[in-house]
Every structure is written in C-alpha cells, then in structure tokens.
C-alpha cells in the first residue's frame, strides 16, 4: 500500500497508539470490566429471581432498559448516517472523523440490543422469535431491521477499513504475530491496484447508499414499537421522524465528545481541529432546532387538543410535582442551550461545544425516559393500586448496575477497537490544511472518478 507523505505522517503519528496497550489502557479496561462484572451479577439476580428485582411492574412494564436501548441504538443510526453522508459527498474535512462515527455505529449496534434482551422475561425462549415469527408485530420488524442493520453497518465499517488494514499489514509494526496475521487476513490481499481500488469504491458507495435509508427505516421501526400502540404520548404520526432526528442529534453529541476525548488522549489536535468542532457544532445546532420543533409539535398538539387521556400525560410531564422539572431541564439543556452556545461566536469553542454536547447527551437520555415512563404511568383506567411500585416506576440498583455496565461495555469496545485500528483513517486522509494540498486532493478525487467511469 502506497501512502502519500501526509498520510504516512498521519500513520507514523498514530502508530504507537495501536502498537502498545499501555498501563493506562489496562487500568481503564480493568475498571470497565469491574463495572461489567457488577452488571453481570445484577443480570444473574434478574435471571435467578425473575424481573421482580427490577422496578418494572404491571403498569410500567418497560423502564431503564428500554430507555437505554433507544438511546444507544440511536447513536448507531446517527453514526451510520453521518459517515454515509460524509463518504458519499466526498467531504474532505470529514475524512478524519468518519472512522470515529463508524466505530460508534458498530459499538452501539452491539451494545444497544443487549438492553432489549434485558427486558425479555424468558431469555431461554429467544429462539421463538425465529421459529414462531409473527410478521404483523412491530417487534418482529425491529428484530429483522436490527439484524439487517447489524450486518450492514459492520460491512460498512469493514469496507472502510480494508485499505488501512493493508497499511498496517505492510508497516512491519512491533506487534505480536497473531495481530500481524489478523491484519493480513483482514486486508484480503488489497494492494491498491486500479481494479481493486475500483471495486472497493463501488462497494463502499453502494453500502453508503444502502446504509443511510436503512438507518432511517430501522430508527422509524424502533419508534413504531411505541407509535403503533394506542397510548397517548406514543401514538403519534410524527414518531418515526422524531426518533430519526433524536437519534441523529444525540449521535452528533456523542461524536463531539468522542472527538474531544481522543484529541486529548492521543494529542490529535492536527486532525480533530477546531474546525471540526465548529462544523459538528453547526450540525448540532441545526439538529437541536429540528428536534426542538418536533418536541414542541408533540407537546403543543396534545395540549391544545386536550383530549382527556392526552391531557393526563401532558399534565404529568409538566406538573412540577411529577416530571415538570425534568421536562423543563431536559428541554432547556437538550435543546435551547446547545443552540445558543453554538450560535454565539464567543462560545463557539471546542471546550464549550464539547461541554454542551456532553450535557445534551444526558438531557436526551432523560428525554427518552420522559417519552417512555410517564406514558406507561398513565393507563386509560384508574390504577387504584395501593402498591406504590405498581403506580410509580423507580429504577432499582440492578437496573442501574446494568445501565452502567452497558456504558462500560460501550467504552470498553471503543477502547479495544481504537487500539486495533487508528482512530484517524490514514489511507483516506486528505490534507486540507494548505491550499495546494486541497487542490491536489480534488485532482486525486477526479482521477478516482475517471477510473470509475
């Protein structure tokens, strides 16, 4: 594999990051593993004693697990759409962040579905989904969609990695033999010949074209698990696009935070530049406005129409004695503040953007909670139950332990993958820092296109 000087430099710079697994990395890993072990114990309790150990009961049948599921799998859809668009439109400044978006895609599509499994009362009967599938059920659509998407997104990440695997293979790095071998296998004999190049580009383009609508579909299907019921707060025609936008929005937030973390950790200031934060900040701002618009439409139509059952949910959401403060806080931090921080030039700085992105992620998680739990706490018939846990949902420690185990596995997988491949994709990299290089890049792009034709 031949690299230009800029790409070579990027590789040499990142080489130590994938060559050794340092003390700090081990400490991180062990820390994450400990969290996962605590979650494992909670899972053991849940399986041994039944779902009684969770805070879920007959009215609120879904809780933290489904909130985490929606949130984490949303990140995946966002990562796929972002990297797909950056790829298709040959956005040269976007090259350094494509890999990060793709890793996020794959990691979250692995971790997310674990949470839907945690909601299942009989894990021993999981195969029933395949031996007795019932196509009318949105749950079946979701199973099919996620499995399709899982394969698609892994392929998409892999295609984007082939060139880099060839680089790692040829670099004679100071790594164990098995890794050398693995890179060789994964590079599937890629040498950078004209025909290989052509095939790879066509495959990548095709996958990008497939993965974008696929993400939108899968995200909508997820929303329909709720939208297809008759419940107020869920039964809404805008639920599909609302979920797509929410996913994209929180995904951009996680991408910004990941970019900041890796920039700090690996000193990648030359690749994750201030410009990247600004541009992703703009994306975040636009998405915040869109998401805010959808949220407002949801609340406003329900409130104005004021049908009784709808009003019951709206009252719950806005009553300060119930979820009022959470609703206010989540919408303020999750929608309004990011818009202002990015809009004001003085605060349009990486650290500020990262900070609001981080807070926005938490707010959007809370928003998901506010979509799920208050609706379930508002059945059509009066609950008239003296058992508090049946009336009001409160997550128990096993649910929290498993939630943190999920976050830990997300971060652990991220760590492991970023120790196996460079965070900045070297072979795709285009030097946009100098005018001359930029022109060169466009020329190269043209050359690719001619070859394609």
């Amino acid at each position: 594999m031949e690299l230009n000087s800029y790409q070579q430099e990027a590789f040499d710079y990142q080489r130590p990051n994938i060559e050794k697994f340092g003390k700090k990395n081990w400490m991180w890993t062990i820390f994450f593993l400990l969290w996962i072990a605590v979650g494992g114990y909670a899972l053991y309790l849940q399986i041994a004693k039944g779902h009684i150990v969770t805070g879920m009961r007959d009215n609120v049948v879904w809780g933290l697990f489904i909130v985490n599921f929606i949130f984490i799998i949303g990140l995946s859809y966002a990562g796929a759409i972002i990297s797909g668009l950056l790829h298709l439109f040959h956005v040269s400044w976007g090259k350094p962040i494509i890999r990060l978006a793709q890793i996020m895609t794959v990691v979250s599509v692995i971790v997310g579905p674990i949470f839907i499994l945690l909601c299942i009362g009989r894990l021993d009967r999981l195969h029933h989904l395949f031996i007795y599938p019932r196509l009318q059920s949105p749950m079946t659509w979701d199973v099919l969609a996620i499995l399709t998407y899982l394969v698609g997104s892994i392929l998409f990440l892999y295609m984007a990695l082939i060139k880099d695997f060839a680089v790692y293979r040829d670099a004679k790095m100071n790594i164990p033999k098995w890794r050398q071998k693995l890179y060789t296998i994964l590079a599937i004999g890629y040498r950078g010949g004209a025909s290989q190049k052509r095939h790879l580009i066509i495959s990548q383009n095709l996958l990008a074209i497939i993965i974008i609508p696929l993400s939108i579909m899968v995200s909508s299907i997820l929303s329909w698990v709720f939208g297809m019921t008759l419940r107020p707060g869920w039964h809404s025609t805008i639920f599909g696009p609302y979920f797509v936008l929410g996913a994209l929005y929180s995904g951009v937030g996680v991408l910004i935070v990941a970019m900041w973390a890796y920039r700090k950790m690996y000193k990648l200031d030359n690749y994750f530049t201030d410009k990247h934060f600004t541009y992703l900040g703009y994306c975040m701002m636009v998405l915040a406005a869109g998401y805010g618009y959808f949220t407002f439409s949801e609340y406003f139509t329900s409130w104005f129409g004021s049908a009784k059952w709808d009003s019951d949910v709206i009252d719950k959401l806005f009553n300060p004695a119930e979820y009022g403060w959470w609703t206010l806080g989540a919408n303020l931090v999750g929608i309004l503040i990011p818009i202002f921080i990015v809009a004001i030039p003085k605060t349009r700085k990486p650290q500020w953007i990262t900070l609001v992105a981080f807070l926005m992620i938490i707010a959007l998680w809370i928003k998901r909670y506010l979509i799920i739990v208050p609706t379930l706490e508002t059945p059509a018939l009066p609950m008239q139950d003296t058992r508090m846990e049946y009336v009001k949902y409160a997550a128990t420690w096993p649910e929290w332990a498993l939630t943190f185990a999920g976050i830990a596995s997300f971060l652990l997988l991220f760590t492991i993958i970023s120790k196996f491949v460079t965070v900045i994709p070297v072979s795709e990299l285009v030097d946009t820092s100098h005018h001359h290089h930029a022109e060169h890049a466009i020329e190269e792009d043209k050359k690719d296109k001619i070859q394609l034709a």
Partner: protein, 324 residues
C-alpha cells in the same frame, strides 16, 4: 392420538379416584374448596389431606387422589388455538347491580390459583366527570375482536380464537411485555417472579385454556374460563357474584345468563342501552356494559366495610377531602 391418550389417562384416573372424589366434592361443594385445603395441608405429593365428609366427619385422604377434575379438560394445542366450534362468547356486565362485593375476584383467584395481589378481574371505582356519581366497574379481559395485544405479539403467543376468546400460550410467550404496553385496558399481568402454586398444579401439563400452571417471566390474563365452558359450566366470577352482575353466554345462540336468569343477549343490550368501554379506540370489545341507571345499592355499600388496604384504593374518590 396423543390427545386421546391423555384424555383416556385422565378418564381412567378419574374413574379410579371417583369414589373418593365424589366424597370430596360432595363434602366441599367445589373442587376449588378442596384444593385450597390441599394447599394448606400438603407438603408434598402423596401426603395426607384432611377433609370434611358429608356426615361432618374429618376424613384423611391421600392428596394424590385429589386431582382437580374440573381442570382435567385439557384439549390439544391446536384445539386450544382454534376454540370451541360454533361459539362466540360474550359478556354483559350490569353496572346497576354491582356493589363491589368482590366475590368475583376471590372466586377467580381461587379457580386460577392466583395470590390475592393478582387480579385478572378487578373492580374499579369510576367517576366519569367531576359532577358525575361514582359507580363500581368490574373489569376483566374484553376479548376484543380487534385486539391490540394480539397485533403486537412477536411470537404468536397470544392469539384470537374463532369462539371470540383471546388467550395466551405460556409455553411460547417470551415475556417481552409488548402486549401489556399495547392493551389500553391494563388487563394483562406479568409473573415478575416464580408464581407460588400447589405442587400438583405445578405438575399439570400446561393448557392455554386454564393458564395452569402459571410460569415465571410470562404474561397472563382473564381467559373467560373456556375449560369450564367445555364442561357446560359458567366462569367462577359469574357464579360467585351474589347480585348477578355478569351475564355470560354465546352471541351465536343470542343468550346470556347470570346463573339465575337467562335472557336474550340482543334484547338485553337493546333494552338497557349497553355500551362498550372506550369504543372510540376501535378495539371492538366482547364485553358490554349496562349503564349504572336505577342502581340497586348506594356506592358506599361497596366501600364502608372494605379492609383498609383495599379501601385505600378508592379513598381519592370516596373521601376527596381527606388527603392520605
């Protein structure tokens, strides 16, 4: 074939125990009664159970003989899914007669071996608007003709039968609870932990028509007791009601009965202006309600003598000025 074998076997065991069983049923009036004593007295299968004979004597019987003959009518999986040919089960609930005696609830729990907290059938206190008078509202599964729960089940564990019933196959249910989220009437309950059952019930072969034995991590609900219909019996809630609130019957025959009187279903819902709960949701329930007009009991009759923990449920409506 297999089914015939099972039936045959149960028939034989029935004959074998017939002599004792008649004593038992005669003594207690119902199997539910004998079973409840079995629950308290037997530690393990084969242990001795003490029962009251018709002469007022205490007799000791091996619990192995106490096979619950009413629950014996186990039909094949296919029949459980198809339903009883030619029937369209329907229920009419007369709200003017309900005084929250709660006999239906206990009878249901006894028949289905469910603990006190698990209510497949519950009685709500409804107050439709601020000025409206509160009334008691017994509610079981509506066995909707357009059931939102069945639509969403990913594994076909809950299904609609040709006789109108919506049942659950808990050998198949994966416990995703989607049906619970989808049911607008809060009908379904989940086995959050291992349900406690007498050992002989636990060892029964599962039937969707009886919901026995209950299984952890699965969803269950009111089933309109089709096993009893097969025997020509009414559901226990209908039988137990002291006021004849529940009329149960067959839409095809156009007859419903509350145990003491049998009337024309179409005439009853016409004369009494029956309605279906939340008709606007389009679920097409198979349970009709007769509005609480000319009520037989003041609503307090169902409140004043309730045990404290149940009384608390209705406090907000009955004593709105007293904040708990």
């Amino acid at each position: 074939m297999v089914q015939e074998e099972i039936n045959d076997k149960s028939r034989r065991s029935f004959l074998k125990t017939a002599a004792v069983a008649t004593v038992v049923t005669a003594a207690c009036g119902s199997a539910a009664c004998s079973c409840s004593s079995a629950k308290t007295d037997t530690a393990a299968e084969g242990g001795k159970v003490r029962l009251l004979s018709p002469d007022g004597e205490i007799v000791e019987i091996d619990s192995a003989y106490l096979n619950h003959q009413e629950h014996m009518a186990i039909v094949s999986k296919l029949e459980q899914r198809q339903g009883i040919a030619g029937k369209r089960f329907v229920m009419v609930v007369d709200l003017a007669l309900c005084k929250n005696a709660r006999k239906c609830i206990t009878a249901c729990q006894k028949w289905h071996y469910r603990p006190e907290e698990t209510e497949w059938l519950s009685v709500k206190l409804m107050k439709d608007s601020e000025k409206a008078a509160p009334y008691w509202f017994p509610k079981q599964c509506f066995h909707c003709d357009n059931p939102p729960c069945v639509k969403v089940c990913p594994v076909d564990a809950t299904f609609k039968r040709q006789d109108g019933l919506v049942l659950i196959d808990n050998d198949r249910c994966i416990g995703c609870k989607f049906c619970m989220a989808a049911c607008p009437y809060s009908t379904r309950v989940f086995n959050w932990d291992e349900p406690e059952m007498p050992i002989d019930i636990r060892n029964l072969k599962y039937s969707a028509e009886t919901g026995l034995p209950a299984k952890v991590g699965t969803v269950e609900k009111c089933d309109f007791c089709p096993d009893r219909s097969r025997e020509g019996l009414l559901p226990p809630c209908v039988e137990a009601c002291p006021n004849g609130v529940f009329y149960f019957g067959d839409e095809n025959e156009d007859t419903v009965t509350n145990g003491s009187e049998t009337v024309s279903f179409s005439q009853l819902i016409k004369d009494r202006a029956a309605y279906r709960f939340l008709e606007e949701l389009g679920t097409k329930p198979r349970v009709y309600y007769l509005p609480p007009k000319d009520r037989q009991f003041p609503v307090e009759r169902g409140y004043d003598d309730l045990p404290g923990n149940i009384k608390d449920r209705f406090k907000d409506i009955m004593e709105p000025n007293k904040k708990s």
